[in-house]
Structures are given as C-alpha cells and as structure tokens.
C-alpha cells in the first residue's frame, strides 16, 4: 500500500525554482492499474520517480506499507528500488552487448540473491512476459515489442510489489502497444501488484481501473473506469 501525503517537489532555488509536484495526496492499492495522464511538465514522471524512490520529495510524507520512506538512507532506498519497485521505460534501456537473459539478471547483481538462483528466476520472469524462447538473443535482434517485454521481465526479476511504467508504449505501434498494456494489466489483476503507468495514450489509459489527471504538479482528476459499457448506435436507414 502506497500513501502519499502532501508531497511537494521543488527543483532549483530562488527565482529559478520550479514546483514539479504541489501537495499531492494519494493512495495506491494492490490489484489496480492506475494511469497517470497530463501534459508535459505536469509532474507525471516526477510523481513516478518519487513513488519509486528514485527521487526524494522536498516536503510531505511517503508511507510504504506504513513505513516512512523519507527517513531511509541511500542504501535502504536502493534496496527498495531493487526489491519492491520495478521500472519500465519508454526507451526500453536494455544493455545492447548483453543477451536477453543477462539483461533480465542485472537486478540480481545488486541484490543478496545467490548466483545459482539467478538463471532460474530470470527464466521465470521471461516466461511471464511470454518470451522465454528469446533468452539467448541480443536486443538488436528483437522487435520493439519484444524488447519492451524483456524490460518488463527485468522489472519483474525480483518479484516486486510495484511496477512503475513511464510511457511504456511510446516507442511502439498501436497493436504492439495493446499487447504490452495487456501484460501490465494482468500484472495488476492476476498478480495483485500495484501498477502505475504514466501515459498520454488514451488507449493505454482506457485499460486502467483508475485514471489520474495531472496539471502543474497537481492531480485535477481522479476517476475510475469500472466498465466499458457503451451504447453503439447507427444511422436509422
């Protein structure tokens, strides 16, 4: 369970100061995929980075399963990023000179897991994204959709509770994008993870259970999409 209370983030100082987040109060629960939408500069990515402990808030409180995150030191935050959070980026960010399997195993380097477990766990993660057969390929041999699946598998390596995706379909065509969103959605619905997706793609947002609309560092809308029941009409004759 993620709880943000009056989270504010300010970059720079004095006259150059920019308020990226303005008193955000938010709760995120398991089993839900939440989409975060908004124009450039609205603070979506900043929000994601703060949730994922990649960046720290200027003020406010952040509780992760009841524990206050701001008090944690560098090492503890790194551990959280390694074990609790899984990041997925628009640009995939795979290591080009390593195989798919090696790429997925990178998070293990920074964990305490014994080496003999690595391959097994990595293959499990690749299974979850449906590309276990590509384990020995290199990123440049894969399509965009396959590369993003590798990135998702990498994010899943340590079985995190939270998946944070920043425009995961930004570099993909619409058909592939739908596939990727379906994967992210099932991580929430079937595995009970908290999934947060920053997106400007309506199709992606439509698949989420909850949509946050941001502007100027604030959340201006927070609504759920429970159903997709729509009346489709046609001309009379």
């Amino acid at each position: 369970m993620i709880e943000l209370v009056d989270i504010t983030k300010i970059y720079g100082q004095g006259s150059n100061a920019v308020k990226a987040l303005d008193q955000i109060t938010l709760q995120l629960k398991p089993n839900e995929m939440t989409a975060v939408m908004g124009p450039s500069g609205s603070g979506k990515t900043t929000l994601l980075n703060i949730i994922g402990c990649l960046d720290s808030a200027t003020s406010g409180e952040y509780y992760l399963d009841g524990r206050e995150v701001a008090k944690l030191d560098l090492k503890a935050k790194a551990q959280l990023r390694n074990e609790v959070f899984g990041f997925v980026f628009q640009a995939f960010n795979l290591l080009p000179d390593k195989t798919v399997l090696d790429n997925v195993m990178i998070p293990f380097r920074y964990s305490c897991r014994p080496r003999r477990e690595w391959k097994q766990r990595a293959m499990t993660a690749l299974d979850q994204t449906g590309i276990a057969d590509l384990a020995d390929r290199y990123p440049d041999q894969l399509s965009g959709g396959q590369q993003q699946r590798v990135a998702i598998a990498r994010a899943l390596a340590n079985d995190p509770k939270v998946i944070l995706a920043d425009e995961p379909t930004g570099n993909l065509d619409s058909t592939t994008g739908r596939e990727i969103v379906a994967i992210l959605k099932s991580l929430a619905e079937k595995q009970g993870k908290i999934v947060v997706v920053v997106t400007h793609d309506g199709m992606v947002a439509s698949q989420a259970q909850r949509i946050l609309q941001m502007m100027d560092g604030r959340i201006i809308d927070d609504s759920k999409i429970d159903s997709d029941s729509v009346v489709f009409s046609h001309p009379s004759v």
Partner: protein
C-alpha cells in the same frame, strides 16, 4: 563499454607495458651492474696507468715489471684491451666477440668459476699455444660441438674451457665484459693480433688479488719502485669500483633517467585510461542511471567500472609483454644479448603494473558514475 573504447584502452595499456617492461629490463641490467661494481671482493685491486677517470694503456713489459714489484703471494693477471678489429669466426659464422688477452691467473684473481674444461696454464702461455677460453653464454649459444675450434683472422684456436660469463662478470675500466668474450694468452694475443692500431697492444689493467695487503700496501710497493725509474709513469692503485668513476655516476644518472621515463609512461598510460573511461561513463550515463533505478549503489557501479578496466588492463598487459618480447628479441640481434633482462620478473612487473594502473585510474570514472543523477539522464523526449 563500446568496442572502440575497449580497443583503445587495450592498445594504450599495451604500449605502456611495452615501454615500462623494456625499461624495467634495462633497469634490471643496470642495477646488476651497479651491484657488481660494488660487490667486488675487497681484496681485488687494479693497477693502471693514469689516474681517476683517465686510463692509459701500458706496454706489456712495464706491466710485467710492475708485477715484479709486488710480493709473490699476490695473484695477478694483465688484462688487455679488446682487439676489436680481429675477425672472429665460429662455426664458419663471423661473430662479433670481444678478444681479450690475459694471464693464466686471470680467473683466480676475480674468483671466476670454470663451467667447463680449464683455463690455460703458464706453460701454455710461454709456449705460445694457440688456445682460448670462452664465456658460458657464448658456449650456450653455439654448443660444445661447434665451439671446439674457432678462428681469428684466419688462424685456428682450440677452445679449452668455458668461464662463467653472463652480463658483467668482469670489468675493464672501459665498460663491461659482454657475455661475448674470448680470452687468449696475452703473448698469443700480442703476436697474432698485432695488426691494426697501436692501442691494441696495450695492457689496460694489472688486476691483483691480494689478501692480507691493503690498498695502501700496494701503493707503497709501487711508489717505492717508481722512484728509481726515469720518466716514471703515473701508476695508480684503485679498487674496481673506483675505476671509471664517471661511468658509475653515469649509470646512476641513466637509471634515474630510466625511472623518470617509466614514470612518465605510467602517467601517460594512466591519463589515457582516465580519459577513455570518462568518455565511456559519459556515453553510458543513461545505462548507469538505469542501473541506479534497478537498485545499484555507487560501490556497485564502481565495481563494474573497475572490473571492465581491469579486464582491459590485463589484456593490454599481456599484449604489451608479447610486444616487449618481440622488441627485446630484435634488439638482441642488433645490440647484443642482455641489453635488457627480459625474464619472468619483467613479465610479472609488466602485468602487475597494468593491473595497478587499471585499479588506480578506475577511481576517477567511478566517482563520475556515482555523481550521475538518474532522474536527469533517464528523462525522455516526448
């Protein structure tokens, strides 16, 4: 790391290792020389004509006369200069060896061992027997079968023994014995190599082994007799390491110069690595940012960088040793063996150096990686 950077790094380190290996090898030889120079039996002295740095040669009969002034229980041998225009042929091959004339007591004066056969005797000297003794390196090079006989200026000489002779076993004031020396009885030397410059026929040293007699004693023997001579030449008694004093200083200067050059090479190699590794960190900032997002701590990144650099350093070191070996072999052909000691120690020194350079220089790029702000580098273009 990009393949280009990796290649540049390996080449850079290889060059550094080549240079420092060769320098280390030369340094080893120089140090050995200096040790040898000071490691002489304190009972060995050199009597020569001239003083300090300037050695003139003396005629053989003068050398004999001076020998007569010294007590019987002192072992002595004349040592000639090198007849460098004598043409030596071994196994039909012309070989550039030093041709030196000495007395039968020569090995006894310096405490040299014979590894094979024997030295010539006084009798053989008097009978002008055409025999000679070679250094062990020469023997090792050609082998016993080839080195039964050799010819000098067309005349045959029988090789009757091998004396220990790696670099710098015995000294003349004019430099080192190379491992390429052939010793002849002095009378034979005079007779047969009586061609070319007058200077060849001069005795450079009267070397003595005089336990029980100090330098002052010897000097007294000499001066006592010199008084009675008309036009007495300046005969001096020196310890071996006092001879060619200037070259001792020279050696030290060369050695210092060598280490200075090695240091510069080390520095350049280090700067090369730092520059390449820094460029690499800059190119890879996004990947480093990603790793931080995956939970990497600064020490993890530092470890990865150091690992990559060390791997390149080892490759470079290996390559450098191989190249240095090639250079050494080529130089051996031209300048003569043992211009530099290229042995296991040189190789180990080269590898250790490359490792050390790798570890130390990795510090800077590791710091740079730690300073990367993941939020900044992971930013996306919309």
């Amino acid at each position: 790391m990009k393949p280009l950077y990796r290649t540049l790094l390996v080449i850079g380190i290889a060059m550094g290792v080549v240079a420092t290996s060769l320098i280390f090898g030369v340094g080893q030889v120089m140090v050995m020389h200096m040790q040898e120079r000071s490691g002489y039996d304190s009972d060995v002295y050199i009597l020569h004509h001239g003083s300090g740095n300037t050695i003139y040669g003396m005629p053989l009969d003068l050398a004999r006369e001076i020998r007569g002034w010294l007590p019987e229980d002192i072992t002595a041998s004349v040592i000639s200069s090198d007849a460098h225009d004598a043409v030596v042929r071994i196994d039909a091959e012309v070989w550039d060896a030093d041709v030196i004339g000495v007395d039968a007591d020569f090995p006894a004066v310096f405490g040299m061992d014979l590894t094979n056969g024997r030295f010539f005797t006084k009798a053989e000297q008097e009978n002008r027997r055409r025999v000679c003794v070679v250094t062990s390196d020469l023997m090792a090079l050609f082998g016993e079968d080839a080195l039964e006989l050799l010819t000098v200026n067309g005349i045959e000489y029988k090789v009757i023994g091998t004396v220990q002779g790696d670099a710098g076993t015995a000294r003349t004031p004019f430099g080192n014995y190379s491992s390429n020396t052939i010793f002849f009885p002095i009378e034979v030397w005079y007779e047969d190599f009586n061609q070319g410059e007058f200077r060849h026929r001069l005795i450079m040293q009267l070397a003595v082994h005089s336990p029980g007699y100090s330098k002052a004693d010897l000097a007294r023997f000499v001066s006592h007799n010199l008084i009675h001579m008309e036009d007495a030449p300046a005969i001096k008694v020196s310890a071996p390491n006092e001879i060619g004093y200037s070259s001792w200083v020279q050696d030290l200067l060369i050695l210092t110069g060598i280490f200075f050059v090695a240091f510069i090479v080390f520095l350049l190699a280090g700067l090369n690595i730092i520059q390449i590794a820094s460029a690499n960190v800059y190119d890879q900032q996004r990947i480093f940012g990603l790793k931080v997002a995956l939970g990497a701590l600064p020490r993890h990144l530092a470890g990865e960088i150091t690992g990559e650099i060390t791997a390149c350093a080892l490759q470079g070191g290996y390559l450098g040793i191989v190249l240095a070996g090639i250079v050494n072999t080529v130089m051996n052909q031209r300048v003569g063996q043992y211009w530099a000691a290229f042995n296991v120690f040189t190789a180990i020194a080269g590898m250790l150096l490359s490792l050390l350079v790798g570890w130390i220089t990795a510090i800077i790029p590791a710091r740079q990686a730690a300073k990367i702000d993941p939020v900044l580098v992971l930013r996306e273009e919309r």
